[in-house]
Every structure is written in C-alpha cells, then in structure tokens.
C-alpha cells in the first residue's frame, strides 16, 4: 500500500509545515513597521482616535493573545476580516485563487510545451549545432527574470503589435455565464470558445512571461536526463530493433527521463506561482499576487496572513501532487 501510505504521511507532514508557516507569518508581519491604523488616519485625527481604532481592530491586545484569537479562528475556518476591504479574508483569497491558479497552470502548460520541445529537438540533435543553439537560448531565457520578460512582451505584443490584451483577465463587457471563478476551465466545459479565446488573449502575455524561465529549466533538465537515458541499455536495445531515433526518444526514453525532471519542475512550479505576485501586478491580473501587493502596501495584516498561508497551502499541495505523480509514473513505486 505504498501509495496510500505516502499520501497519508505527506498529509501529516503537510500539516506540520502549514502550522510552522502560520506561526512564522503571524509574527513576522507583526514586526513590519507601518501599522494599518496609522494608514487610515486622516489629517486632524487625535491620539484618542488611534487608540479607538486600534481597539476596534483588536490590535491593542498583546501579540500572543492576538495570535491565540487568530489561530482559534483559523481552526474554525475563519481567517479574520480584511482591514481594507472589510470582507472575510477566506472568501477574498478563495475568490482570487482560481485566477492565479489558471494563470499558473497556463504558464506551466506553456513551459512544458516550449521546454519539452526544446529538450526533444536538443536530444535529437545532440552533439550538433542544434543542441548548442538550444543551450544558448536556454541560458539566455534563464538570465532574464520573469518580470523583465513581462515588460518586453508588453512592449512587443501589447503596443507594437497589439495582438494580446495588456491588463485584466477578461474583457469586462463580456457576459460571463460562469458559476465558478475558474473561467478558463468552465468556458471549455461550456464550449464557449469565444470566451475562452478572450481569456487566453488576456492571459497569454503574463503566462508566457512566467513560462519562459521555467521552460528553459525544463528544456535544460529534460534534455540532460534524456541524453543520459539515451545511453541506457534498453534504449540501445530498442535501436537494434529497427526503430528510428524519434521513436526511440519518444517511446523508450521520454517516460523514464521525465521522472527526475518532474520533481524539480514541482519545486520550480511553486517558484512560478510565487512569481505571479509581480507579474499579476504588471499585467493588472486579478489574482492573489495583485491582491497581495495591495495588502502589503496597506498593511492589511489579516489579509497578508491569509494570502501567505494560502500560497503555502498551494505550494505544499503542488509538492504533494508531484510526489503522487512520481509514484504513479514510476511503476517501481506503484507496485512495490
């Protein structure tokens, strides 16, 4: 029963991890200078006003008491109320989550397609100029941070050749028949390809900016791992059977070479999700990252806590999924 065992074990450690994150986040952001009350004081407010508002938001209690209150709330699924938006934090962050997830998944798909293609072409032409060229492009893609790619893309595809939308997630004038916030998926399920195209046109640039560095990593790693696999006996054996190079790469090597790449892609994917913070801001995309920056600027403590914890949940979930995927793809673990 290794599958179930791994799942349970991972869920258990995940809980420990999240608890650690909760503690650290709570105390780190309490020492952030600039308190939310000072932010909402208009000219003319008095010290009494400060005290009054602090008490109203529960910020006057000792830190440890505040933590206790917050934690017991979290246990009951109540992450507190955002100071700036005056909405329950949980609802707010869950409302933005689908947008960020869709963006991240879109970016991941792009990265896998681009990186995978680069790896395959590079492996096919290993030792030749083709591989060298792919190495150079990979190196360059990795040396530019995603937000600079965002700027470049915005200039090229937003202004010079305005083919994609620069900001937002969907054209506001469209009537959306959706019941969930997963627009991209729901538009596919409802066969509304017009909406899907509009969503993709909005998502394309931020997703690509996020995808380029990851694509380079996937390309690099998968190529390396493919090249190693191509030297293994079972690949050699397949060649003697009369198969061409492409078939050998795709059919024999790829699946086994993907495994080591997978774990790293898992970690990198969490970095990519983390990267949405800046990219969403740049492209005014309505996700968690955009909200996170506002929350930090406004010192909306409960909201920051909620967002960081949600990110942590996503990250650990991604790692969990990667682990399970690894188990599924690796017959050795599946049946042992």
């Amino acid at each position: 029963m290794p599958f179930l065992r791994i799942l349970l074990l991972r869920l258990l450690t995940t809980l420990v991890t999240l608890a650690g994150v909760a503690v650290i986040v709570f105390f780190v952001i309490r020492v952030v200078p600039g308190n939310p009350i000072a932010m909402m004081l208009p000219p003319g407010a008095t010290d009494e006003d400060i005290a009054r508002l602090s008490a109203l938001y529960g910020l006057d209690k000792p830190l440890i008491t505040q933590f206790g209150i917050w934690l017991s709330g979290v246990m009951q699924g109540d992450f507190g109320t955002s100071i700036t938006t005056r909405q329950p934090v949980l609802g707010l962050v869950l409302g933005r989550l689908p947008a960020t997830l869709e963006l991240a998944i879109m970016a991941l798909v792009m990265a896998v397609l681009i990186g995978g293609a680069a790896a395959l072409i590079g492996t096919r032409g290993r030792g030749t100029r083709t591989e060298g060229a792919i190495d150079v492009v990979n190196g360059m893609a990795l040396s530019v941070p995603d937000f600079l790619w965002g700027l470049v893309l915005m200039l090229v595809f937003g202004v010079l050749f305005p083919v994609f939308h620069i900001s937002g997630r969907v054209t506001p004038s469209l009537d959306l028949p959706f019941t969930t916030n997963f627009y991209l998926f729901e538009s596919l399920i409802r066969l509304r390809f017009d909406l899907w195209a509009d969503l993709v046109a909005h998502m394309f640039m931020p997703a690509l900016a996020l995808a380029i560095p990851l694509a380079a990593i996937i390309g690099q790693l998968l190529k390396q791992s493919l090249k190693e696999t191509m030297n293994l006996d079972y690949v050699t054996l397949a060649r003697t059977k009369g198969y061409g190079e492409t078939h050998v790469i795709m059919h024999e090597a790829l699946r086994n070479a993907v495994l080591p790449t997978l774990t790293l892609v898992g970690v990198q994917f969490t970095f990519l999700i983390g990267g949405t913070v800046i990219i969403e801001r740049l492209f005014s995309y309505e996700g968690l990252g955009n909200m996170a920056i506002d929350a930090v600027i406004n010192r909306d403590l409960p909201l920051i806590q909620g967002i960081v914890i949600l990110f942590a949940v996503i990250f650990t979930a991604v790692n969990l999924i990667v682990d399970l995927l690894y188990t599924v793809l690796n017959p050795r673990l599946r049946h042992a």
């Binding site: 006996d233 079972y234 050699t236 060649r239 003697t240 198969y243 699946r255 086994n256 690796n330 049946h335």
Partner: protein, 289 residues
C-alpha cells in the same frame, strides 16, 4: 558467403585512439562465434558496429560490414536500421537495465513484431506467450503483464532472450549476457541460449571475457587485444593449442577449480610487451593493406 562478414573494420574515438584495428571475421549461418579479450580490447565494439549502435563519440574509419551480402555501411541509415531490425537482435549484458522500467513486459517483446514487421497484435501476443514458454517461464500471461522490477534478474534475462528470438533473427549478438548473473543462474541461461540457438539455427556473435563460457557455447572464437584480432580458431583447436602467445597466456590465467594451482598465472610481462609491440607495428606500418 557467411551471413555476417566483417572486413577490415577500423573504429576510433573521435580525436582519440583506435578501438578496432582492421578487424575481419565471419559468422556463418547457425554458427556461434565467441569474441574474447580483456576489458578495453574492443570486443563489444564489434557487436555494436554490426548492430549500428556505436556511441556518437566513436566513428568508423574504414571497412565493410556485410550482412547477408549487403554492406550495411553503404546503405542509407534508415535502410540499414530496417535491415538490422529485421534480421538481427541483441542480448544485452545487464538484465536489470535492459528492460524499459515503465513498460510492461508484453509490449517489450512484441513491439518489434508489430511496429517493424507489421504483425497483428493478437499474433504477436501469441508468439510472446510461446517464446516465454520456450525460455521456461511458468505462467507467461502473468509475466507479460508485469513490469520489469517485479521480476528477478534470471527471469529478466530469459525475457531478453525470448525477445531476441522473437522475430526469428538470422544473427544475434550476445554481449556478455551472463556476466551480471550468479554462476548457478549463468549455467541455466547459457544452456538456454545454446539450446535456442541450435533449435532456431541462429548465428550467434558471443562477446565474453570468460574462456570457460566460450568453451561451453561457441564453435569458433576470436581473441582480441587492443582492437587487434590476435587469434581466430575453432574452439577445440584453441583449447588444445592456442596459436598466439597472448591467447595462450590468457588461457593459462583463467582459473580452474579442479586444479589447485591454476588461475594464478598472470599474463607474463614478456607476452604483454610482445603483443603491444605488434599493435604498435600495426599502427605504424601499411603492411596490412
């Protein structure tokens, strides 16, 4: 003409030293030829060159490889690959790494039949079952559905043998097929290979460093030193009286449990020096042209 005929085959590392020095040898249909030598002698290179699976760092500099009368090296790559796939097969050294861990056993035996030779899946499956029975695997159906890691080393080597014989090849290259196995298993596997080879009338190019093994399965053998063929004789001739000093010394160094003193005679330095000189002379002069 022999089914496989190698003429003056020279192979070298790119920007490096020669690995094979104008090797010529023949394998007649149904014949078993052993290729013997110490590590680095180039014995595996010959098998790889025949099957067209030389590593990219290695290049063929001269020579011909005739398979059933056609020079493989003159054919377009696709065509030579097709011919090799249709008439040759490989039994690799390490059964643990020679099966693709992510595919089930069944397709790994039948893929060539279906994809290259155009068999129907049903026919190929039936053939796979027969083959597994022939290599003495009980419960072939279960094994066909298994993944490699679920089977023992000996079992996997049997599967590889079955897979090699699947398309009734004319020539099989066995590259140290028992080196990774326990002696008791080795005996069974050697018996199996020899038995099947005899039954199917397949020619066999048997690469090994173990003269004991050669004496069990081969009819002819070539001894290599540093890419040079120093001896080419029939098995009985060789074990009775080796023609080259180096191969004689090699035979003397091979341990023999029946003789308490055997096995501790390293190849004498004089012999090594002589055979080295021979290689050096070969590299220098065009005498062999």
């Amino acid at each position: 003409m022999s089914f496989l005929s190698i003429r003056n085959l020279s192979v070298r590392l790119k920007n490096g030293p020669p690995l094979l020095r104008r090797v010529s040898l023949d394998v007649a249909a149904g014949e078993v030829r052993g290729l013997v030598g110490e590590s680095g002698a180039g014995k595996s290179m010959i098998g790889k060159a025949v099957l067209g699976i030389l590593p990219p760092s290695v290049q063929i500099t001269e020579g011909e490889i005739f398979l059933d009368g056609t020079d493989l090296l003159r054919l377009p790559p696709k065509e030579s690959r097709r011919r090799i796939g249709a008439s040759c097969a490989l039994i690799p050294q390490d059964p643990l790494t020679a099966l693709n861990p992510s595919h089930r056993i069944g397709p790994q035996i039948t893929d060539r039949l279906v994809d290259i030779l155009g068999w129907t899946r049903a026919n190929a499956d039936a053939r796979a079952r027969d083959l597994l029975a022939e290599v003495q695997i009980a419960d072939p159906d279960r094994v066909l559905r298994s993944y490699p890691h679920e089977l023992s080393g000996g079992m996997r080597q049997r599967i590889l043998i079955a897979s090699a014989f699947a398309a009734e090849p004319k020539l099989i290259v066995a590259d140290e097929p028992t080196t990774a196995l326990d002696v008791t298993v080795q005996k069974q596997i050697l018996r199996l290979i020899a038995g099947m080879q005899a039954r199917h009338g397949t020619a066999l190019l048997f690469v090994t460093h173990d003269l004991g093994v050669v004496s069990k399965v081969c009819q002819r053998l070539s001894v290599l030193y540093s890419g040079l063929v120093v001896e080419d004789s029939t098995v009985p001739e060789f074990f009775a009286s080796p023609s080259h000093a180096y191969s004689a010394a090699l035979l003397a160094a091979t341990p023999k449990y029946t003789d308490p003193d055997a096995g501790l005679h390293p190849v004498p330095e004089a012999v090594v020096n002589a055979v080295r000189a021979e290689v050096a002379a070969f590299d220098r002069g065009p005498a062999h042209g």
